[in-house]
Structures are given as structure tokens and as C-alpha cells.
Amino acid sequence: MAVIKVLPHSLREKIAAGEVIERPVSVVKELVENSIDAGAGRITVDIQEGGKRLIRVTDDGSGIYAVDMPLAAERHATSKISEEADLYAVSSLGFRGEALASIRAVSRLRIISRRADCDEGTELLAQGDEPMEIRPIGCAPGTSITVTDIFYNLPARLKFLKTNITEQRKIQEIMERYAMAYPEKAFVLTTDGRELLNAVPAASAEDRLIDIYGRQAVDGFVEVTAENDYVSISGLVSRPGFSRSNRSDQTLIINGRLVQSAVFRFALDRAYRELLPTGRYPLALIRLQVDPSKLDVNVHPQKAEVRFVDERDVGILLERAVRRTLLERRLRTLNPFTEARSEISRPGTITTGRKPYAVQAPVNMPLMEEAFTDFFSGKEMPAIKQDRTEAEADMPMKGDGFSGLQVAANTGVNIIGQALQMYVVAYDDLSIILIDQHAAHERILYDRLMQADGGGSEVQVLLLPETIELRPAEVSIVGERSDILKRLGFTVEPFGKNTYRLTGVPMELAEASPAAVFRDIVSDLMEIGGSAREEQIRASLCRRIACHAAVKAGDVLSESEMKQLTVDLLTVPGRAMTCPHGRPVMIKMGQAELLKAFYRS
């Protein structure tokens, strides 16, 4: 008996759809791209229950002719390309004629559309394999597509969807990205009448960035541009002072498509090397315009990736452009003395470039002389008190051998000193001990934070409250998680559109930058998603706070700080000897080990 058989049509459709439509946000992506292809100036998206119940995308674009309607939701039917050659020079976002067919296979689909040059519109109702209903209808020019009950016929898929909040956030994020990719268009996103995004047409990419990130953030960005004979790059990247703990704020747009690209990620990483600590990522909005014939858009089922000729070269071009911009900026802010030199021609500042200093002296002298009146009047210069620098004073062991100060009696540990500005070196009766100062402090703070449960930790009230502008998607998560934030010691209150005011921070963060910590916390919340258990969220936020509040590698510790750290670490019974990220806090080398290392056993 034959075992290979052709699958029924409806099953084939479902399988094919699975490639394109993975979750509600995939529907939003396809529909918004269709609206963009239709030349819409305003795209409105309304969702219910994170898009699971309903997604409606309405545009003021070209509309669909009544005669085309029967084919719109058929597989492999498109108005955008017609022959093979077109595939190699696609200038629209769609080209496969698969999106609407896929949506139809897994949901209930309704299209209403009218061309501006027709008096009447057309309505299409479709549901999987069942026959479509098409009829005339009165409506405004443009297209409105409604997708309800996604995956109603695919329970397995439905099970894999996340909570409504998480699915909604994914939609919010992609809408923000489209808004940044197409600043000239209006984008609106609502759920149950509540506005999640409202971006009015903006004059420039920068203005749109302000809509999304708020005015504060704009100073944090610098512009980059670069080009070669087949690509031009333009974009905005964050200054090194402004970074994130993940890459979620990096957006790449190639010929109007939102895509992911490893080449691009690496290029950015390299451009920021040494300018950002490890684990920190820049924010970036990069737009590439590539000759369409160099671009292969047909490589990914959700069109989330593209391939193009000489990708590596483009990566290098981007890297150099970003690096150059960053370094130029940095030099300018850090280096007034060099600046004086480069301003040779500015009248009023006398800088003689490379001429020997002596030539300059006559000009300079009268003023110098005035400055040195005491000298020229013969008074002697007072001796300068020679005290040790603070760093030296804080370094107990420098030069004066092992004073071996005894740490609190109950630990039995003697501290020798700090090594490499990273480790506390100590010993007890049985072993030599190295403590990683950052990891140890992180562990201590983390434990303390996790313990200060329920009642909440102590809050340092801020003398200068910080206003923090967030992206619309972030605003909703801060709202949702306000309880946890409050219990951790963050006092925040809404302060106008997309803005929060931070008036108190956990005591532990007294030395850290409140705004920077809070932003990191918000990115963590975004990443954790809506479905995480409260306990998980708390742990992750406490890790973040501990990391910010802990002493860093490179910080010089005073005697008393080393002592405090060691006592805190060792006197709590049952304390885990790893940092919250799982790295060891302390290394002990016991007698036996040492004997072996010195071949004495």
C-alpha cells in the first residue's frame, strides 16, 4: 500500500501559514506592510486581548478593486511582481502573495476596501477553506482588514501564545519600529480604545525619535552617515553614556524593511568597543538604502532577514562611520587643551600652533607677569604640603608590608590588602583567600534586597527628582509592575505623556545614577515579559540593583571597606558563595593545594 499521499488542501494551507504567521504580531507586521505598500499616509491598528481576539488595520492607501478581491486572499496571488526578473529587484515590502492567504488559513478574515476612483467598496469574508463571501459595501477610500480569533482552528499554536500583555507588547514594539522606519507616516495603535502609540507625521527621523523616546533622549544620540557606490547609510546612534543592557533598542531598516542582521550587530559592537562596558549595548536606528538588484529579500519566511552582496563591506563601512563619529565627539568634550590648539584661526585666542612656545611668550608675558606678581616682588613660594594622595592613603598595604589587620574576631580572616584593584587578598588558619570585590558585594546586596521582602526596603528620597521619558511600550510595563517597583524602593509617579518622575530610590543605590538604574530595570521588565512569576521578576530586578550598587572592579577599597566587605560576606550563615549571576565570589587555596603546587607533598 502506498504510504505517500498528497495532503488535503486545508491542511496544506495551515502548514504553509505556520511559516508566515507565528503569533498575533506576525499578522500586524504583514498587514502594516501591505498598507505601506499601498502608499498609505496613516495606518491605524486596533487590537483586543493582545491581538488574540482581534486585530484591525485600517489605512488610507490605494485600496483594492472589486475585481481583484477574489484573488487577494489566495495563495501566490500578488499585484506586486509578475515575472521572475521582478523578484531580483523588489521595491515593495510584499512580493510573495502569501500573507493574506496565510492569515485566512488560521483565522477569520474580513477585508473592506475601496479605491478612491470607485464609488463603492467591496467586502470580503473568509474563514479557512470555507467559500469566501464577497459583496459590495459602502465605505471610505482605503482598506480595513480585520482578523479575529487567530488560531481558532490550530489549538496547538494557540497554546504557545504568551499572555495578552506580552503579545501586546510585541505588537507595540513592532509598531514603534515601523514608526521609526517611516517617520513621514502617521501610526496609531489602540487597544480597547486606549492609545498605546500615536505618532503624527514627523518632519525627520530625529523628530520621530522624539515621539518614541522622548525629548530627553535625543541629546543622547548622534547622527551617522556614510556611503559607497551602492549603499548609503544614515542613522542615529547613542553616545557611549547612554546604553542598554540588551539589544532591543537597535533597529535596522534596509530599503524600508525592518530586518535582523548579525553583520550589523557585530559592526555596532565593534564600533563601541572600549566605549561601553561588556554587557552594555548602544541604541541605534540605522537606515540602509541598497541598490535593490544587490539585495535578496527572499530568504526568510517572515522576511525578517535579507541577504545582500558584499554584506561584510557594508558592515565595515557602518562600523567605521559610527566609530569615527563617536571618537570625534568624545575628543571634543574631553579635551579643551587640544581644542585650543585646533582653534588657531579664531580671533582673540592666541594660539600659535606648532611654533615654539618661546615665540609666544612675549604676547603672553605681561599677563603671566601680572599673575606672578608675588614672584617678581621677591616673595618666596610657600612649600607645598606633601601629603599622600587619597588613593595612597586608602591603600593600606602599599609598601609597608603585611600588617595583616585582623578582621572581626568571628571570621578569623586576616586581610592582606587589595590586589589588581579587583580582589581582596586575605588568609585564615587554613588557607589563602581571594575575594572578588564586585561579585562579593553583589552577593551581599542581593541577599539583603531579597530579604527585605514585603515591608519594602528603605528609600532614599531624592532632592532632585528625575524625570524619565519612556517608550510607550515601556510605560505600560511600568504601570503593570508598579507594585514590585514600589516594594523594591522605587518611588515613581506618572508625569505627563510617556514620562515618569522618580522621587525615591532604594537606599542601596545612593551612589548610582537613579535614571540609569531605572532605565535598566525597565529594560529588564520588558525582557522578562508579562508572564513571569512575581518571584522571578523580583529576583531579576534585585540582581540588577545589586549590580549597580556594588563596588566595581577598578575601585580602590580602603581598609575599612575591605574589612566591611569580608565581614559582611562571611558572617551570614548559609550565604551562597556565588554572585547572583552564578560566578564564584571567593577562591580559597588550602594547605594541601598549596603544598601540592609547591611540590612539597
Binding site: T338, A361, L463, L464, M507, A512
Partner: protein, 367 residues
């Protein structure tokens, strides 16, 4: 180039210069001091591009010229020479000779033309201010500046001219220290500069003798402090300092007057325990006394009491002990006044009997 100079003068000059010299190896010339030989004196310059120091030392100069040499090396060499008079001269290119008696050291030089230019000391004095007063003012505000590099403005100290006053202000967002010095002759009406903390630290060191006056002068994008024979030039932090006046509460209902020494002792005592936890100490104000307490779980608790005059409702207010000790340790007056509003609003600490100093500190909300 040739000059004779006294060792003690040269040594103290180099000590000062070395504070500005950089020890980063990326730009070796910044580890050097520029020496300019001119009629009657030598000029020494050191800079790490953040700050620059220039000073003149009397010398018998036989021939002029300029050269740069590693500052630390030169200092070590001369410190080791026994006699008083030292000769510096150049016989070969790229070499400076240091001579005394039969000792002869030659040091490799880098050309003076490659040394960063010292900014022109244009006119534009803000004021002349007694060194001792400036030094005290710096000490009383500088600890309140922020260490947080992501907020560069707060890492500096505001130097402001307002009417007849020079104000120094620093804040890290949790507390604010403000010192006003009134001076009869101020040439400028309004000026606000944000000076890096390090600059004030170095300046304070230079002022340690406490004698004489310091001239403060604004340059095009720097500021200069001129004191005795030393010019210290520093970059200015760009940006607008927050409006600190807004956070100083006007009329606070309650006030306590007590001995600074006693409060310090009590807070220090409480801090011993508090620092095992979160550094929080609680002050309870009532008619005749202030009680200072701290509790740290699993460690212990402490109760300290001080006599004080207090008018106001009984209240508890908690602070970060370090913020209190910072101010108490830097005041010179015996009696201080603490004014409070509510347990969550800013408190003010001032010395009694002395105008011109205000410290605003935010309380901690207890969990």
C-alpha cells in the same frame, strides 16, 4: 639653554607640577613638564589636558630656550642631589643635563613645540578671594558632589557669581551643600561655571598655606586660578547646573540647636551599627533632646541621646548617616541648627552664628 637654580625651589615646583602631569602612557609627552628658560626665571608647565599648572621659579638664566622632560624623573634626580645649587643645561639636542659638583645626569627630552599649548591668560578676573576662605568653602561643599559619571554636571562644583556673592554649590541629588562668600569687589555680575571636583581638590592642595589671595579668571572655555606664583587652568564642565535654589526649603517649622560635637559622636556611634546594614540612622526630636538610633537585623541596635533645644512637634526622621557625618565633620562652628519639615521632606543643617552656609539633606523613608 642654561640656568642655575636652587634645589629647594625646584623641588617644590616639581612637586606641584607633578599633580597635573599625566601618567597615562598613551601620550608620553603628557608625562613631561615643559621648562621655559627666560631672563631671570624658569617657567614650568604640566598638564594632563584636564587641568594645567604653570609656575615660575627664580633662576640665573644664561641662555634662553625651552624643552620638555619627564617631570617625575627630574624630580627624583634632583631630590637625590646633596648640594643646593643645580645647573640645568642643554649641550646636545634631545638631552637635558642636570649638573651638580661632579654629578651629571642627562635626560632625554621631547621638543617643546609638541607640548600642548597653555591657554592664553586673557583678562577677565571674576574676583580676588582670600585663599583661606576659598579653601574652607571648597572643603565644605566638595563632598556633596556626585561620583556618578553618567551625570557629568553633578560631578562638578558650581562656582557662581550673584550680586555681591560668590557661591559654591555641590549636589549629588540627595543632598546639597552651598557656601556663599560675600565680596565687596566683584567685577562680573552673573557667572556660573561648573568646575570639576578634581580641579578644586588640586586647588585646595595648592592653597594649603592659607596665606594670600587667589584670583579667579574666566578664559574662553576654561577657568584659571592664580595664586602666588602658580596658575592652575582647568576645563569647565559644559551644561546647565540644576536650579538648586528651588530645592532649599524656605520656612521649616521645627528647629533644634545642639552641640556639633555631641551630635557627631551620637551619629558616629549609631553608624557603627548602621553601616552593617544600610547606613540609616533615625533621629527622634522632642522637647529637650535628640535620640539617635539604629537597628540592623541580626547585628544589634543602638540608642544615643543628646541634649538639645527643640521647638516643634515630636518627630522621627531617618537619614543616611554618611550624609550627616560629611557635613558635621566639615563645619568649624561649635553649635549647629537642624531644621526639619516632615519625615519625608528636606532638612537643613546650618552652623549657628555664621551666615553663608546651608546644607540640605533628604531623609530616608524607612521600610
Amino acid at each position: 639653554m642654561k640656568a642655575k637654580i636652587e634645589k629647594s625651589c625646584l623641588a617644590s615646583t616639581l612637586q606641584a607640577i607633578m599633580r597635573a602631569v599625566s601618567n597615562r602612557s598613551t601620550q608620553p609627552i603628557l608625562g613631561n613638564t615643559l621648562i621655559e628658560f627666560e631672563e631671570g626665571h624658569l617657567l614650568f608647565t604640566g598638564t594632563d589636558l584636564e587641568i594645567g599648572l604653570k609656575t615660575a621659579v627664580k633662576a640665573q638664566v644664561e641662555s634662553n630656550g625651552s624643552v620638555t622632560v619627564p617631570a617625575k624623573l627630574l624630580y627624583e634626580i634632583i631630590s637625590n642631589l646633596p648640594g643646593e645649587e643645580i645647573e640645568l643645561c642643554q649641550e646636545k639636542e634631545h638631552e637635558l643635563l642636570v649638573k651638580q659638583g661632579k654629578s651629571k645626569y642627562s635626560i632625554r627630552t621631547l621638543p617643546a613645540s609638541e607640548y600642548p599649548l597653555f591657554p592664553e591668560l586673557e583678562k577677565g578676573d571674576i574676583c580676588e578671594i582670600p585663599a583661606a576662605i576659598l579653601q574652607q568653602a571648597i572643603r565644605q561643599v566638595i563632598f556633596a558632589s556626585s561620583q556618578d559619571e553618567t551625570r557629568p554636571i553633578l560631578t562638578g562644583v558650581l562656582l557662581e557669581v550673584e550680586g555681591n556673592n560668590i557661591n559654591l554649590a555641590a549636589t549629588d541629588g540627595h543632598r546639597l551643600a552651598l557656601r556663599s562668600i560675600s565680596l565687596p569687589e566683584l567685577s562680573q555680575e552673573q557667572i556660573a561655571l561648573i568646575i570639576p571636583e578634581r580641579t578644586f581638590n588640586e586647588l585646595s592642595r595648592l592653597l594649603s598655606s592659607g596665606e594670600g589671595e587667589v584670583v579667579i579668571r574666566v578664559l574662553s572655555n576654561q577657568v584659571a586660578f592664580i595664586y602666588n606664583k602658580i596658575v592652575l587652568v582647568s576645563r569647565i564642565i559644559e551644561g546647565k547646573y540644576p536650579n538648586y535654589r528651588q530645592v532649599i526649603p524656605g520656612n521649616l517649622p521645627s528647629g533644634t540647636v545642639a552641640s556639633r560635637d555631641e551630635i557627631t559622636k551620637a551619629v558616629k556611634g549609631a553608624h557603627i551599627l548602621a553601616k552593617e546594614g544600610s547606613h540609616v540612622v533615625k533621629m527622634s526630636f522632642s522637647a529637650e533632646r535628640i535620640a539617635v538610633t539604629a537597628v540592623t537585623q541580626d547585628v544589634g541596635d543602638v540608642y544615643e541621646e543628646i541634649n538639645a533645644q527643640y521647638d516643634g512637634e515630636d518627630m522621627d526622621i531617618a537619614f543616611n548617616a554618611r550624609y550627616l557625618l560629611d557635613i558635621l565633620g566639615n563645619l568649624d562652628e561649635e553649635i549647629v541648627e537642624i531644621k526639619t519639615g516632615t519625615s519625608l521632606s528636606p532638612a537643613i543643617i546650618r552652623p549657628v552664628g555664621k551666615e553663608g552656609y546651608t546644607y540640605v539633606v533628604m531623609p530616608v523613608k524607612m521600610g
